[in-house]
């Protein structure tokens, strides 16, 4: 098996770290920088900031959070939410992001994926797919925080995203997000079988077993952890120790 990354996912609304259920119904958790700094010190492999509002006004707040984070966090930082152009991406990378996650704008103008990959490199172009189950073995990609249909089959869209130049896929199950009921392993397995770029599993992690399932049965290359660590129900050192004990290929931080 390949190496497996443990990523701290922080959803941001204005200046706050929030946690929602199925991308809605949010609660304020705290100061994102403080949480990101703690996760870095505890050995998270990467930090993922997701702007849940992504208005132009919120953008400046996000840039400020990214700028300050980059001064004290020395692992890769990915930023997503509302990025619509090469100019938006450039501004975010200048602020200190290492990668950007793009969802809505990529579904309406797929050429943006190729443009970002060409200008900044595939390594920083993460295609964000928010998927909802529509039937047995079928999922549709949603945009605008899980509110709008795209009509795109999530698995086919992942494959197309790879062809367009995406370097990674951030795959969120909208159905499972915030539920603590476990990842949609079938969705993860369908996407990892369809593409050869790394897939980050997101949405639904409620226990170590879920992480194990996403990696072993789903073939995920990384898992995004939010609720569990934000509310102190698990820590990165504990998850890592358990992963190592169970033979998962995480780094021995």
């Amino acid at each position: 098996m390949r190496n497996l990354r443990l990523i701290a996912r922080l959803d941001i609304k204005g200046p706050n770290l929030i946690k929602g259920i199925q991308l809605e119904g949010v609660r304020v958790v705290g100061d994102p920088r403080a949480f990101a700094g703690r996760y870095y010190n505890e050995g998270a492999d990467e930090i993922l900031y997701m702007d849940a509002v992504a208005s132009l006004y919120a953008r400046d707040t996000m840039l400020d959070i990214v700028r300050r984070t980059a001064e004290e966090v020395f692992v890769p930082v990915t930023v997503g939410g509302g990025l619509r152009s090469v100019a938006d991406v450039r501004t975010m990378l200048r602020a200190g992001a290492d990668k950007v996650a793009v969802n809505s704008a990529a579904t309406t103008q797929p050429e943006l994926v190729s443009e970002i990959a060409r200008i900044f490199g595939s390594q920083c172009m993460v295609l964000q797919i928010d998927a909802k189950r529509t039937g047995p073995g079928r999922w549709e990609a949603y945009r605008d925080c899980g509110r709008e249909h795209t009509g795109l089959d999530a698995v086919a869209w992942a494959r197309q995203g790879e062809a367009l130049g995406a370097g990674e896929i951030l795959l969120t199950s909208v159905d499972r997000e915030g539920t603590l009921r476990g990842f949609d392993v079938e969705l993860i397995a369908a996407v990892t079988a369809a593409v050869s770029i790394p897939v980050i599993a997101s949405g639904g992690m409620g226990s170590f077993t879920h992480l194990h399932d996403a990696a072993v049965r789903g073939g995920a290359d990384a898992v995004a952890v939010a609720h569990l660590v934000h509310y102190g129900k698990a820590t990165f050192p504990a998850l890592r120790a358990e992963a190592l004990a169970r033979g998962l290929p995480v780094r021995a931080a």
Partner: protein, 215 residues
């Protein structure tokens, strides 16, 4: 005494990340975009991310190629990071053939997408991987690796890897799904790392510290 480090500024995407990491270590960082600024460096870092050819073109367009070569020949500490390390070698196959700086002998080739048994290998190689001493040794003796233990992990993102012509230039390797990849190179004053020390947490910062402390 505050260490001073000069970063070659030719538009590389990780320039500011590298600068932030060195500043975090208390170093004074100078961004050099002229041949004179490169020539005057106490120690020089060549960053790089993205495509090999674009990076070489960026360096060329700024008129810095010869200055970097001359600096490297002058004996002061030099560190190439990611594509910056790849550029230290003779050339690369990425998007056709592109010549490198030729400071060290070797060529940059695509990481094979299947292993010896025909199984698919995921490329790019993204994520944390353990550093191993070169050529089966169990230790390294190098200021860059001061305080780094074999098995410590660092962050990689690359689809191409250096095949050095001289085994002696390999400082550290990593194992990626059954293939040994050059992780760090060393010859005299020249050092390079394929991984991103600026994104490799405390281990990466220790490696940058080792570069600042090296003579």
């Amino acid at each position: 005494m505050t260490a001073t480090v000069t970063l070659v500024d030719y538009g590389a995407g990780n320039l500011l990340s590298v600068a932030r990491a060195f500043r975090h270590l208390g170093a004074e960082v100078i961004l050099a975009d002229t041949p004179a600024a490169v020539a005057g460096a106490a120690r020089l870092v060549l960053p790089g991310v993205g495509a090999f050819a674009a990076c070489m073109t960026g360096l060329e367009d700024k008129g810095l190629t010869d200055a970097v070569r001359r600096f490297a020949a002058g004996g002061r500490p030099f560190l190439g990071i990611c594509i910056g390390m790849q550029m230290m070698f003779d050339g690369s196959d990425e998007f056709g053939t592109t010549r490198g700086l030729g400071l060290l002998p070797g060529w940059v080739r695509a990481i094979p997408t299947t292993d010896g048994d025909g199984r698919r290998r995921k490329v790019p190689h993204i994520g944390w991987n353990a550093l191993q001493p070169a050529n089966g040794a169990n230790r390294w003796d190098d200021p860059l690796m001061n305080g780094i233990a074999p098995g410590d992990s660092v962050y990689f993102v690359h689809s191409f890897a250096v095949e050095p012509a001289e085994r002696a230039d390999t400082l550290a390797e990593c194992d990626y799904e059954g293939i040994r990849l050059l992780a760090a190179a060393r010859r005299d004053n020249l050092a390079g790392c394929q991984f991103h020390p600026e994104k490799s947490g405390p281990v990466g910062l220790r490696i940058l510290r080792g570069f600042l402390d090296g003579k």
